[in-house]
Amino acid sequence: MFNQLYESIIIGFKAVFQSKGRALLTMLGIIIGILSVSLMGTAINGIDNVFNQTLGMFGDDVLYVQQFPWFMGDAEWWEFRNRPQIREEYSEKISKRAESISYASVEMNRRVTLSYKENNSEGVDLGGRGWQSAYIDAAKIQSGRYFTQLEDKNASRVILIGSEVHKLLFPNVEDPCGLDIKVNGLKFRVIGVFAEQGKIFGMFSIDNMAVIPFQTLKAVFGRSQWLSISLKTREGFDKDYALEEVRSITRGLRGLRPLEKDNFAINQQEAMEDELGKIKTSIAAVGIGIAALSLLVGGIGIMNIMFVSVKERTKEIGIRKALGAKRWVILVQFLFEAIIIALIGGLIGLGLTSLLVGVVNKFFVASMSLGLVLTAIGVSIGVGIFSGIVPASQAAKLDPIEAMRYE
């Protein structure tokens, strides 16, 4: 039994390699199918990785009152554009009135160039944040400290830098705290360094940033029209409750009537989660669609060459049956031939995927999981069985006399 099974597998293998060109051609569908399945899986995997990084950037108990929602359609942009600006004093007012909020802080941003001696770091995202940010921000401080309430109030020239900035300005200094750098030519003292947070899509580092007190930014560079209020939910309070409370307070600050729509946005990490979920679903739909189609085409291709293979080997089948091969032996022989073709196609597809992932990985933290590999192998075997079973059982049922007469 095992002998015969082994023999059937070997015969299947030989059959595939005797007609390599033909087999390779029919593998194309399977290759594309497996490629799209595994690329899809890898992309979803990568999105999850990106998401896990953004978790580090935005605390999951923080609400952001901003002019724009994080996700919007093109058509709505003008409507949002004309909304009244977010004002600095909202921070204090909301934190006073909302029982569900423990800390509130205001933030604005601008792009600046930082320099230390001959080293420059351009396009740095400089945030001016209220002192309360020390209690709201999810970013960890690796060395040094946050600025104090007093430093914020006095608009002190103190700065915290991201790890990317640290690398660029102080390649040889382990702890730059206490050193003076220039922000667009103005002198600031480094008081802290943030821990590394990584890169999103491998391209834009979220570590190419620096933070100074809000009042300093306002005094030195002027007020930006884009303000953002960060609010930390007080422990023991439900986030949805906090959201509703913040919304009604903000509506009050804006003087909105009951039927008027909100003219501000309250953003939170969950929105990002939802949006990523949508992207994942559409990638999955497209990937599965392409995969199903090409696997079907590939499967039909394999079925076709299996019929050809059975025809070509009719005499051989007759001889084997005359010598005592049972039906299942013939069936397994041809089924394996089909499975081997599909499996090789699948493995080529996986190989191509891992090559592509290797390239993409330079920009995108993506990985092929073991589950994905096993799924791809399983799918290939399934396609092989699907496309081999009919030709193989046709071969198994051949009448030995007629088959032997076939030329």
Binding site: N3, E7, K14, I319, A325, R327, P400
Partner: protein, 235 residues
């Protein structure tokens, strides 16, 4: 006790409205270690009979017993009719075929061709190789084991086929015009080989068109129109 017993065998082909009676009531008994040759004009049913004896085909009606086993019942009660796979086992274990056109698998070596019946019998690899080599040696092909059929002469190919027929130690060897595709010299060699098998105790049934070949047998059956016309046993 007879090795095979055919009783009132009919094999009828229905082609449209026309009924072809390839076998039209055949009765034969063959004893162990008999050497039977079958003669008769073309289309008289010789190959059809061989196929039924060899369990490659089943009769339309009639009884067939081989080596004490009922292959086909004369009066059917449904119990004694072998299935496709059972017939495969019987062919594998009881029958050795030698065909006019050799019927070797072209892409395999002589050795692998001879191994085939042993593979289907489930014989382990080492024993298989040993037995196949021994049989190939006995037909003087020790130096051609790793050649493929297209690297062998017609006579050598037929010797591979003889080796393949012998390797499973069958109860009967069936040879349908084994010399039909060979020149008379090599045909003579193959016939000597077959006569040797008979002397060593094998049962042989052979179809031929040539009288001098038929005369080697101890019994000559003459067929005509799907029936046994003459059945001469020599003493």
């Amino acid at each position: 006790m007879s090795l095979l017993k055919l009783k009132n065998i009919y094999r009828i082909y229905q082609i449209g409205d026309i009924e072809v009676r390839a076998l039209n009531g055949v009765d034969v008994d063959v004893e162990k270690n008999e050497y039977v040759s079958i003669m008769g004009p073309s289309g008289s049913g010789k190959s059809t009979l061989m196929n039924i004896i060899g369990c490659l085909d089943t009769p339309t009606s009639g009884g067939y017993e081989l080596d004490g086993m009922t292959i086909h019942q004369e009066i059917k009660d449904g119990s004694g009719i072998a299935s496709d796979d059972q017939l495969a086992v019987i062919r594998n274990q009881k029958i050795g075929f030698i065909f006019q056109t050799f019927n070797l698998l072209p892409r395999m070596t002589a050795l692998h061709n001879v191994e085939l019946p042993l593979i289907y019998a489930g014989v382990p690899r080492l024993e298989r190789l040993e037995r196949a080599k021994a049989v190939l040696e006995s037909v003087q092909l020790a130096d051609r084991m790793y050649h493929r059929p297209n690297e062998l002469s017609g006579g050598q190919r037929q010797r591979v086929a003889v080796a393949r027929a012998l390797v499973n130690d069958p109860s009967i060897i069936l040879a349908d015009e084994p010399t039909g595709n060979l020149d008379s010299k090599t045909g003579h060699d193959i016939m000597n080989l077959i006569s040797n098998l008979h002397e060593r105790g094998n049962t042989i049934i052979l179809v031929t068109h040539e009288h001098d070949i038929a005369e080697r047998a101890s019994r000559v059956i003459n067929m005509l129109d799907g029936k046994i016309h003459l059945d001469n046993k020599k003493k």
